[in-house]
């Protein structure tokens, strides 16, 4: 089934859905401009705008449900953005509203959590301002009805991410990480920008509706190019191979940021981009779509392998995020059969990964901001709520039967299996590794002996931090089943992205499903023997070649250095050499020429009123003369 047509909408809550973006944006503006005066209540205002935005989102969702499924794609025109090029408007449809609810819902919980987490930070107000800015930009990204609006939101979340990674800029590592994220993302954004230019050239419009309905029929090559460029953009934002290297470093930011931006929402923007453009640029079986699936599978394995070797709890979780987004990418590349699973996994992942990141934050909060898991151990007794909620998230991500992740990840594996058995089995393998590294994380943190530093006094976090955890863990338990069973989500999403002719039926005991479960169980058991039952050394052992490989992020940075940085430096040197001789000579020549002209012309400005009058007189004479010449032509 093809996606439904987009209908112009006015009235009702949908008519004012721009409020979704405006509320957090106003919050951010107020907090940033208000300065220190707003320090006292800044965090509350930040929470209030996020929650208000969530309420609006729910109302929009309810109104949308009131329409016939085929009429659930609603365009809300706002204004003429760039006259003659594009109008600015919002597209409210099942896809965007799913994101809206995730962003504002999980976002609100993380805002609330941050009240406690950032309680002692002198710049808490600024932090909330950035969080609000992020929410607004992210909502613009998913709600815009055209690629330019999407791009503005895309850059907006990039900016917010940069500001938040480097929030503790006094730490050089944080500042460097922020810069790295920014630069790597530039590569992706460059791809996206060129994709948009190409789209405009090929279709003479940049709106989703316009591209979908335009009569233009660009060549297959152009379509593939656009698809691959969009994929490049998606790789940058979603930390997919080969642009994955920034995400692990991005964990330098405050933990709520890691939860909100670098796990639940922003990094999924790439999946959104692919899904949104799916019908147009990633048709089933096209080169671009195949590239998406390959990138997805490669990343899901790479992320999982990195996750096995990290001792830093946040970096281990970041590796897991990469891996899970890899699953989503894989599903998104499959086509209509996979979209619903990709987005459903995205939503459940948003819940359980935010849950676990916030749980990790809660642990760090109690452990003097220690992130090394080798210095944790036995925390389940002192932090019972954190442990319980983390356990739920853990069970959900490894795909424990009947929890959220079980349904959504299994859906992806099944549809991948149908698409290509090779990809399917690789995805199963990834699930097994997930079982290992997540179990390792949980055992090292909450089980075993205490390996705490002498001055650590772990304690349970305040209620303002634990309640969001509890709510998120409830979502992690039930959401997946709710979405997947009976194809509820697939039929809901269908009008927006298209759905397969035959709806898949859910087999709890298919062969891949059973193999997956077995592998996960094996992985967990292995982890138990190595990290639960056995002693965990406080300093990391040297480990084998493979461990080093994983610890060094699969040599991703080294590869970047060898492949791009060194040749880049050589190229730069070469370019500088030629630049000095040729181009620079030209440019400097022009600059010097202009400067020289300027300096010479400046002498005309003598400051003597008589010479000014003379210049006016001569000018008038020339004007009169010119008029005669032109007049008598």
């Amino acid at each position: 089934m093809e996606p439904a047509k987009i209908i112009e909408h006015s009235g009702g809550v949908i008519g004012v859905s721009w409020l979704l973006i405006a509320l957090p944006l106003l919050g951010a503006a107020f907090l940033l401009l208000g300065g220190r005066k707003t320090d006292k209540f800044g965090h509350l205002l930040g929470v209030a705008t996020a929650v208000a935005s969530f309420v609006v989102g729910v109302l929009v969702f309810l109104q949308l449900l009131g329409f016939d499924p085929a009429e659930r794609r609603r365009a809300v025109p706002l204004y003429d953005f760039i006259p003659g090029l594009t109008k600015m408007g919002l597209l409210v449809d099942p896809l965007s509203i799913s994101f809206v609810l995730l962003i504002t819902g999980v976002g609100s919980l993380i805002h609330i959590y941050s009240i406690g987490y950032m309680a002692h930070d002198p710049n808490r107000r600024r932090f909330f301002a950035y969080l609000n800015l992020f929410v607004a930009a992210m909502l613009l990204l998913v709600l815009a009805d055209n690629y330019i609006g999407l791009y503005v939101g895309w850059e907006g979340v990039g900016l917010a991410s940069y500001l938040l990674i480097g929030f503790w800029q006094h730490k050089p590592s944080a500042a460097t990480a922020a810069k790295k994220a920014f630069i790597v993302n530039r590569v992706g954004d460059f791809g996206l920008a060129i994709a948009i230019f190409t789209i405009f050239t090929a279709f003479n419009t940049v709106s989703f509706a316009g591209v979908m309905e335009s009569g233009a029929d660009p060549s297959q090559g152009t379509l593939t190019a656009i698809g691959l460029l969009l994929l490049l953009g998606a790789c940058g934002k979603s930390a997919q191979l080969p642009l994955q290297s920034w995400l692990l470093d991005a964990m330098e930011g405050p933990t709520p940021v890691s939860a909100l931006i670098h796990a639940a929402t922003m990094v999924t923007a790439g999946v959104y981009l692919v899904t949104r453009s799916g019908a147009m640029f990633f048709p089933e079986g096209s080169t671009a779509a195949i590239a998406v699936t390959i990138v997805g599978v490669a990343t899901l394995l790479a992320g999982a392998i990195i996750g096995t070797a990290k001792d830093d709890i946040k970096k281990a979780l970041a590796g897991s995020t990469m891996s899970q987004i890899g699953y989503m990418m894989l599903a998104a590349g499959i086509g209509p059969a996979g979209y619903a699973f990709a987005i459903a996994h995205l939503i459940t992942h948003g819940f359980f990964k935010a849950d676990m990141f916030l749980g990790a934050g809660s642990v760090m909060h109690g452990m003097n901001d220690e992130v090394d898991m080798r210095k944790y151990g036995g925390l389940r007794k002192v932090m019972p709520i954190t442990f319980a909620t983390f356990l739920v998230g853990y069970l959900a991500i490894i795909g424990f039967p009947l929890l959220s992740g079980y349904f959504t990840k299994d859906g992806i594996i099944e549809s991948a299996m149908e698409y290509s058995s090779t990809l399917g089995w690789l995805a199963v393998l990834g699930a097994g590794i997930t079982g290992f590294y997540m179990s390792r994380l949980v055992f090292m943190t909450f089980f075993g002996k205490k390996r705490w530093e002498a001055d650590a006094h772990p304690h349970e976090s305040p209620a303002v931090m634990t309640w969001p955890l509890i709510i998120l863990s409830v979502g992690s338990i039930f959401l997946g089943g709710f979405l997947i069973v009976g194809n509820r989500f697939m039929t809901f999403l269908g009008p927006a992205v298209g759905q397969p002719e035959h709806l898949p039926s859910f087999h709890p005991f298919s062969v891949p499903g059973l193999v997956t479960l077995a592998l996960v169980a094996a992985g967990a058991a292995l982890a138990w023997f190595k990290y639960g039952a056995a002693e965990v050394p406080v300093t990391a052992p040297r480990g084998s070649f493979l461990t080093t490989f994983a610890r060094r992020d699969l040599y991703g940075d080294a590869l970047n250095e060898a492949l791009f940085m060194r040749p880049g430096q050589w190229l730069t040197r070469l370019a500088v050499f030629f630049d000095n001789r040729g181009i620079d000579g030209l440019v400097n020549g022009i600059a010097a020429g202009i400067g020289g002209t300027s300096g010479r012309l400046r002498r005309v400005q003598t400051g003597f009123v008589r010479s000014y009058a003379l210049s006016i007189f001569i000018g008038a004479a020339i004007l009169v003369g010119a008029w005669f010449v032109v007049g008598n032509l």
């Binding site: 003429d80 202009i594 005309v604 400005q605 009123v609 009058a613 006016i616 009169v624 008029w627 007049g631």
Partner: protein
């Protein structure tokens, strides 16, 4: 002989905004005459602001109740769509400038005293200040309102003088750097008088040609009068000199840097915004209403003037080391960009409307940004007054990031970076010019923009990437200036992100074109 002069009909309601402003100015003079010194300022400030706000409300009300399609006051004044739009713009810009004027410390204690003399010292210690500024500003604003609405050359000349004479005086009232300020005033006066003479001479010659000073009648005469082309050409050229002088188009731009630099900065803001808007309104009216049938002869000349203006403005700005002079050259360059829009007039009704609406939008966008930029200039101060030398601005981003960011925003808007108002202004004007077939002119415009961007960005780099001097200037932001900055930032950003309402408004205003 008696009984042959009929009493004219005058549409007082239509002229109300001007009458309100002039009336308030006269009341202001009475306040100066009779109110005790300590009360004057307290009366002037609300009076001036309320007057401008009231006149603005009346203008809005007029625009909503319907735009007249014939000239008023026996053809002397035309209150049409563009005029109302320009009035609204001028009134808002003047309001904002007055907020800037309200803040202490811009004006001299005793203008007549010799700089550095004992009298000046005494006036300073007495705390005297020239509250005449307010009625003078109101007179100037009244002139600015009449100038673009004047429908015959004599009314236009009167408006020109009413607008300019108070400005000549205001230029000489700077509190600091008295000699520079007086020099500016004298230069502006002498050159202004010189250009007024050209204007008047042109008017006389056109009267000789057409037998009327009424713009519409001159237009009709273009088709019917033969064999007097000499009078026509010289007349039009002379008239053009007078108008182009006020805009600061090359080669009549020489006064601008000196005058902008020497004047009290709030007055510079008023001149750079209000006067420019008014002068463009008048220029457009003359060239469209009176010389509408003569495009073939004036378009090539405007091409030349526009190119020269852009290039001179952009190139000369590069070597400036004084922030106010740099902004003055930037204003010259922007005058050139606006002239591109004037060239785009003329092919047909639709083309005219789109060019006109582009110009109107540009004027609004540029007006706000320039007032904002000069407002920022007033805040950066040394012991001897405002710190004008660019070297003093080094590292401002590290000392006062907000001020530096705001100023950078204005500079980026001047450069025409997307998501600022300046982008859409340039975009609209260039688009109209391309549609009119003036593509080479647009190319020159873009190249000049690129050159101009260089010196805007240079200031930004200077503010953010240079180390601040140990004895750097202090930043003082009084309440009024703060408000001006906020309004200008808001306008620059909103017009850059959300330009449609104002574009629509400009389009509606331009749709009716100037009445003939």
């Amino acid at each position: 002989m008696n009984g042959t002069i009929p009493a004219p009909t005058i549409e007082y309601a239509l002229l109300a905004p001007m009458l309100v402003v002039f009336g308030a100015a006269i009341i202001g003079v009475l306040v100066e005459a009779f109110a005790p010194r300590y009360l004057r300022s307290a009366i002037h400030k609300p009076l001036t602001l309320l007057t401008l706000a009231g006149a603005f409300v009346i203008t809005i009300w007029q625009a909503r109740t319907g735009i007249p399609t014939t000239p008023s006051a026996m053809g002397a004044v035309a209150v049409d769509g563009p005029a109302l739009f320009i009035w609204g713009t001028i009134l808002v810009l003047a309001f904002v400038s007055v907020l800037l004027i309200n803040d202490e410390g811009h004006f001299v204690a005793s203008a007549a005293a010799v700089p550095g003399s004992a009298e000046e010292e005494r006036a300073l210690t007495e705390g005297a200040t020239h509250t005449e500024v307010y009625p003078l500003v109101l007179f100037a604003v009244g002139g600015m309102l009449l100038f673009p609405a004047a429908n015959d050359l004599l009314a236009m000349f009167v408006a020109l003088e009413v607008m300019s004479l108070p400005l000549y005086l205001l230029c000489g009232l700077a509190r600091r750097r008295r000699l520079l300020s007086q020099e500016a005033a004298v230069k502006y006066f002498l050159l202004g008088a010189f250009s007024s003479a050209f204007f008047l001479y042109g008017t006389a010659l056109l009267y000789g040609y057409a037998g009327s000073v009424d713009l519409a009648k001159i237009n009709t005469a273009l088709g019917s009068v033969g064999g007097q082309d000499t009078l026509l050409y010289i007349g039009v050229a002379m008239l053009g000199v007078g108008l182009l002088f006020k805009i600061g188009a090359a080669p009549f731009q020489a006064w601008k840097p000196d005058v902008y630099q020497g004047s009290p900065t709030p007055i510079t803001a008023l001149m750079a915004s209000g006067t420019l808007v008014a002068a463009f309104g008048a220029l457009l009216r003359v060239f469209w209403v009176a010389l509408g049938g003569l495009e073939w002869s004036w378009t090539p000349i405007m091409w030349g003037v526009a190119i020269l203006t852009m290039v001179v403005g952009a190139i000369l700005a590069i070597t400036q080391t004084d922030i106010k002079r740099m902004l003055a050259y930037s204003s010259i360059a922007h005058g050139g960009f606006l002239l591109i829009g004037v060239v785009a007039l003329g092919n047909n009704q639709q083309q005219n409307a789109s060019a006109l609406s582009a110009l109107l939008f540009y004027l609004v966008a540029y007006g706000f940004t320039t007032v904002g930029a000069f407002a920022v200039v007033t805040t950066v101060r040394d012991a001897g007054g405002e710190a004008w030398h660019l070297s003093r601005w080094a590292g401002l981003g590290k000392r006062r990031p907000l001020v530096a960011v705001v100023f950078s925003l204005f500079l980026l808007a001047f450069a025409g970076i997307p998501l600022t108002s300046g982008f859409f202004g340039k975009y609209a004007v260039f688009q109209a010019a391309v549609a009119a077939g003036a593509t080479p002119l647009v190319v020159v415009g873009v190249v000049s923009s690129a050159i101009a961007a260089f010196f805007y960005v240079r200031v930004i780099v200077l503010m953010f990437f240079s180390d601040p001097a140990a004895d750097g200037p202090s930043v003082v932001i009084p309440g009024g200036t703060w408000a001006v900055g906020a309004v200008a930032v808001l306008a620059t950003v909103v017009l850059g992100v959300f330009p449609q309402p104002v574009l629509d408004l400009a389009h509606t205003a331009a749709q009716s074109l100037f009445v003939r």
